[in-house]
Amino acid sequence: MKKATLIIVFFMSLFFTSCEEVVDVNLDTAPSKLVIEAAINWEKGTTGAQQVIKLTTTTGYFESKIPIVTGATVYIRNSSNQLFTFNEVPKTGRYVCTNFKPKLEEQYTLTVISKGNTYTASETLKSVAPITRIEQNNEGGFTGTDIEIRAYYNDPGDADNYYLYKYLYSNKVTSTYYADEDKFYQGNEFFSKSNDDDLEVGNTIEITHFGISKQYYNYMTILVSIAGSNVGGPFQSPPATVKGNIINTTDKTNYPLGYFSLCETVTKKYKIE
């Protein structure tokens, strides 16, 4: 009998060995592309005068460092042609403006000149509904035992709204994003929720809601999908590079990555009780 058990254990173990393993794959690296992170965020109740635009490039998939772009000219104009210049912070790839004037539903145009190419994009600053309350549910998740946090807001009924939720967890390295549209809750109270099975009492969460345009909603939905959780699943998106709203006017085929977005934001911090 002992022998039979051993044999069964041996055969069972064969089925479970090495289903998934980390392997070495030789990947080609395409010529690097400019990545423009021009995310203008205006936190409710602040002036929004200080804004940062980051310029980086693509790099090999297994590289650990993202290269930065220096020596570029970066500025934004509003619809009345007022100029906001972004000055480079040396050796960081960050370009900072200290006199930006955000205004809801205002149209802005971004210009980036780098290495002989001119990149432009236009976008409108979108508003966001305030977070009214935060609720903690200790019987959330798939198993009914996880801690789940919900941040509620009242969707304005007179417009089609698009939202981006950002959750920054004190127990995780990276923050998570989720894009949402009000199609199914137009004019009603709705919520964003946490997606972290490992939340414990004492952890803190920083919740940010961004008001975004429809185009940016489409962009972020695809970006989040190809960047993370959806990879390898049965509903996997065909892998592809997602293009943003920034155009290279010098050489159209050498398109940049990233996006020029303008959002009003609301941020709330919450400590798990």
Binding site: T58, Y61, A227
Partner: protein
Amino acid sequence: MSGCQAIIISNHKNGAYSLEVETYYKKIQNRLDYIDGADLIANDAIEQVILNGRMRAYGLEIMLKKNEGKFNGWISYTLSKSQQQTPGRTPEETGINNGQWYSSAYDKTHNLAVTTAYNLNEKWSFGANFALQSGQPVTYPNGQYEYLGITVPSYGLRNENRLPAYHHLDVSATLTPRTNKDRNWKGEWVFSIYNLYNRHNAASINFRQNVDTGANEAVQTSIFGIVPAVSYNFKF
């Protein structure tokens, strides 16, 4: 989908050996493919994420058989190509891979199969199979970038890469007891080992960011390693 196919077959037989050579060309219309970045979950307008294209497949198949004797079996080899073309609907749309021909998911350049049997005596016979195939076309990232602190892979054209070659060797021994002769119940024992050298053939390779280290990694999923089996077949 609609298609048409042309085949040329030539067949030679010489004693215990036979040789078959076949070439084919096949065309298929209205072959659908998902657009770049198609999201299928809860999508109520699937027609917006698919594009209509066409497909062509052609190849050469060779099969050498030994039909008689204690030792028999066959070797078959196929050299083939299966491609798709999916242009955009308007000149502004890029379609898939800018409307150029690209490998379909079923493309296998080389496909070698060897099947042999050796009948030692009335009691014992042995068999071995070997399969060697080109890996399936897949799309690997050709770069990465960072946006809002998210690490995003960037990709080149679709199906430009291939999974590692797929191969495995299987062996079997069949025992036919002598007691079969005098009864209606005819049974045999088959002892076999699938994937004898425990090759981890990749079913897929996924790319992800390790949640603990933040570094990117490639993860291979393989389904069967070595699988020994004992089976009993009977006729009555």
